[in-house]
Amino acid sequence: MKLSVWVVAAALLAAAPWAFRGSFALTLLTQMGTLAIFALSYNMLLGQGGMLSFGHAVYSGLGAYVTVHALNFLGKGAFLTPLPLLPLLGGVAGLAFGVLFGYVTTKRAGTTFAMISLGIGEMVYACVLMFPGFFGGEAGISTNRTVGQPLFGLNFGPALQVYYLVAAWCFACMLAMYALTRTPLGRMANAVRDNPERAEFIGYDTQKVRFLQLVLSAFFAGVSGALSCINFEIVGAENVSALRSGGVLLATFIGGIPFFFGPVLGSVIFILFVAALSGVTKAWLLYLGLFFCAMVLYAPGGVASLLLAQIGVIRAGKFGRLVAPYAAGAAACALALCGLIGVVESVYRLSDSTQGTRMALAGMQLDAAQPGIWLTSTLLLAAGLVALRLAARFISSRWAELRPA
C-alpha cells in the first residue's frame, strides 16, 4: 500500500481529537481505536484466514485480565514498567492463550471450527465466573491507570493522553498486521482460506497455518484488551462474553471483510451506531441486528465494498448518473425506517407496562395504545419496503448502464 495512505492514517489519528472536540467525542474516539485493533485482529482470522470465530473475545478479555493484575502490581511498586508498554504484556497473554486454545480449536476447520470457538468462549466465560479469586467474579477487577512512574511527565490520567496512547498503539498494530499480510505465512493463510485442499498439495500443513495465524491474531487481540483495561480501568466477565465476540464480528463484517482497512471503518461505524442509538431507544440491538442481517444479504462485502465500488464511477466522471437512483434509495430507506421505528417503538412501549403507553417519537407525543399509530407505521413500513424494491431496481439498472464504461 502506498506510503501516502499511511501518512493520511497517521494524520487522521493525530488530528481527530481536534476535529471532534468534547469529552464524549474523545471517549468514542478512544473506543474506536481500541475496537479497531480488535477488529483487525479478528479479520486476520476471518478475512485473511477464512476462519469464522464466535469466541475471539477470549483472547482480548484474558489479555485484559492479565493487564489489570499487572497494573495493580505496578501500583504496589512490584516492578517498574511504563504504562505505555503494558499492552505488550496483554499481547503476550493473548498469544499464550492463543497457543493453549488454538491447539484445540484449529484441529477442525470451517463450520466446526466456528462451533468449537463458541464452545471455548462459553467455557472461558463460565470459568471466569467460577474463579472469583483471579477474575473478580461478576463485578470484575478495577484498577487505577495513573499509578507507576510518569513517563515524560505523562501519567495518563487525562482522557486525551489515553487517546493518544491508544492511537499510537493502533497505528503500530495496523502497520504490523499489514506487514504480516506480506509474509509467507500471511500469504499461505490466504491460500488456505481459498482452497485448503490445494494448499496441502503444495506442501503445507493447513492446520499449522491456521494455528499460527490464530496465535498471531490472539496477540493483537490481547493488545486491544489491555488498552481497553487501561481506558476503562475495570475488567469484568463481560470482556470475555459472547456479546463481545459478537460485537467484534459485527464491527468487522459491517466494515468489510475483504479489505484490510474494512474493520477500521467498521469499528467507527459500530461505535457510532451504539453510541447514537443505545441512549435513544431500548430497541437498539434489534436495529443493529436488522442492519447486520440486511448487510449479509445485500452487501456482504461491507460498507467498504460499497464505497470502493463508487470509486471507479467517480474516476470516470459518471457519478452524476447515480445521484438520482441513490437519492431514491435513500428516500425509500427513510420511509421504511419511519414505519419500522414506529412499529418497534410502539411494541416496546406496549410491552413495557411500567411506563404507560405514552411515548415521544421524533419530537411528537404519541400514544402507543391508539390504533392510529399502528396503522400509520405499518402502512409506512409496507410502503417503504415496496419503494425499496423499486429503488433497488432503479439503482441496478443505472449501474448496468454504466458497467461497460
Binding site: 466456528a114 467455557m123 441486528g289 449479509v296 410491552s351
Partner: protein
C-alpha cells in the same frame, strides 16, 4: 437409590430434549450445508408461542400449533432470506443465522419483555407419575419423554420409509449428488429447514414449561447443542443421540451431586463440564464419536 433413579430419569428426559434439538440441527446441516446458529432461538420461539397460545386457547392446541407456527416462520426465513445468503457461501449463511439469533432474541424481548414468562405445566399433566420409596416422579417429565420418543420414531419413519426421507439420508453423506438429482430441491430445502426448526419449536413447547421460559434460554442452550453436534460428529444422527444422552447425564448429575473435586464442589463446576467434554473429544478424536463429514 430412589434419588439415583430420579436423576437417571431426569437425565434421560433432558438428553432426549437435547437430541430433539441436535437432530433438527444435524438434518438441516447435512442436507443444506448450513449450520443454523439460530436453531436454539426457534426452540425459544416454540416455548413463547406455546405460552401465548396456551393463554388464549390451551396447552393441547398449543402443542400442535406452536411447532407449526415456528415451522412456518422457518420456511419463510429460508425462502426469503437464507436462499439469498446461500449464493455467497456457507460463511454468509452462518453469519445470517447468527444475526437472526440476535433478531429473534431482541424481538422476543420486545414483545414479551425481559423477564421470564409464567409458562406453566398444564394442570392435567401436573402430578406424580409414580411414587418410589416416598419420592414422587412428576408426570410431566414422563410426558416429555413420551413426546420426544414419539417424535424420534416419526423422524426415523420419515427417513426410512418416505421418498423425501431417502433424499435426506443420501444428503447426509453425499450432498452434491442430491443437488444433481433434479428433485424440486429448493422446495425440499424449504420444507427441511421448516421441519428442522419445527422440531426445535416442539422441543421448546415441552421444555419451556418444564424448565424456564425466558429470553436468555436460547443463549444458554445453543452452545450446548453445538457441543453435542461436535462431540457426536458432524452429520451423524447416531452420534448426536449418544452425545445428547451423555451431556444430559453429565449436566443433570453434576448439578445435583455434592461431591468435591480439587477443592471445588462439582455443582459449581457443572457449567463448564460439557465444554471440557468437547475439548477432550477434540484432542482424542477430532472427528467426533461417529463423524462422517467435514464441517
Amino acid at each position: 437409590m430412589d434419588f439415583l433413579l430420579v436423576l437417571v430419569l431426569n437425565s434421560i428426559s433432558y438428553g432426549l430434549l437435547l437430541f430433539m434439538l441436535a437432530s433438527g440441527l444435524t438434518i438441516v446441516f447435512s442436507l443444506m450445508g448450513v449450520l443454523n446458529f439460530a436453531h436454539a432461538s426457534f426452540y425459544m420461539l416454540g416455548a413463547y408461542f406455546a405460552y401465548q397460545i396456551s393463554r388464549w386457547i390451551g396447552f393441547w392446541p398449543a402443542l400442535v400449533l406452536a411447532p407449526l407456527a415456528v415451522g412456518a416462520l422457518g420456511m419463510a426465513v429460508e425462502r426469503f432470506a437464507l436462499r439469498r445468503a446461500h449464493k455467497y457461501g456457507h460463511v454468509a449463511e452462518l453469519l445470517f443465522t447468527f444475526g437472526l439469533a440476535y433478531l429473534i432474541e431482541e424481538a422476543t424481548h420486545l414483545i414479551w419483555g425481559r423477564s421470564a414468562v409464567p409458562y406453566r405445566v398444564p394442570p392435567d399433566l401436573d402430578g406424580p407419575l409414580f411414587s418410589i420409596m416416598g419420592t414422587q416422579y412428576p408426570m410431566y417429565r414422563g410426558f416429555m419423554m413420551l413426546v420426544a420418543v414419539a417424535m424420534l420414531v416419526s423422524i426415523w419413519l420419515v427417513l426410512k420409509k418416505t421418498r423425501i426421507g431417502l433424499v435426506i439420508q443420501a444428503a447426509l453423506t453425499h450432498p452434491e449428488t442430491v443437488e444433481a438429482l433434479g428433485h424440486n430441491v429448493p422446495r425440499v430445502f424449504m420444507l427441511v429447514f421448516g421441519g428442522g426448526v419445527a422440531l426445535a419449536g416442539l422441543a421448546g413447547v415441552i421444555g419451556g414449561n418444564a424448565f424456564i421460559t425466558e429470553p436468555g434460554m436460547a443463549a444458554a442452550l445453543g452452545p450446548i447443542v453445538f457441543v453435542i453436534v461436535v462431540v457426536g460428529g458432524m452429520g451423524s444422527l447416531g452420534g448426536a443421540f449418544i452425545a445428547s444422552l451423555l451431556i444430559g447425564f453429565i449436566q443433570t448429575f453434576a448439578v445435583s451431586l455434592d461431591w468435591g473435586l480439587f477443592g471445588y464442589n462439582i455443582s459449581q463446576v457443572a457449567p463448564v463440564l460439557p465444554y471440557l467434554v468437547m475439548v477432550l473429544m477434540l484432542i482424542v478424536r477430532p472427528k467426533g464419536l461417529m463423524g462422517t463429514r467435514e464441517g
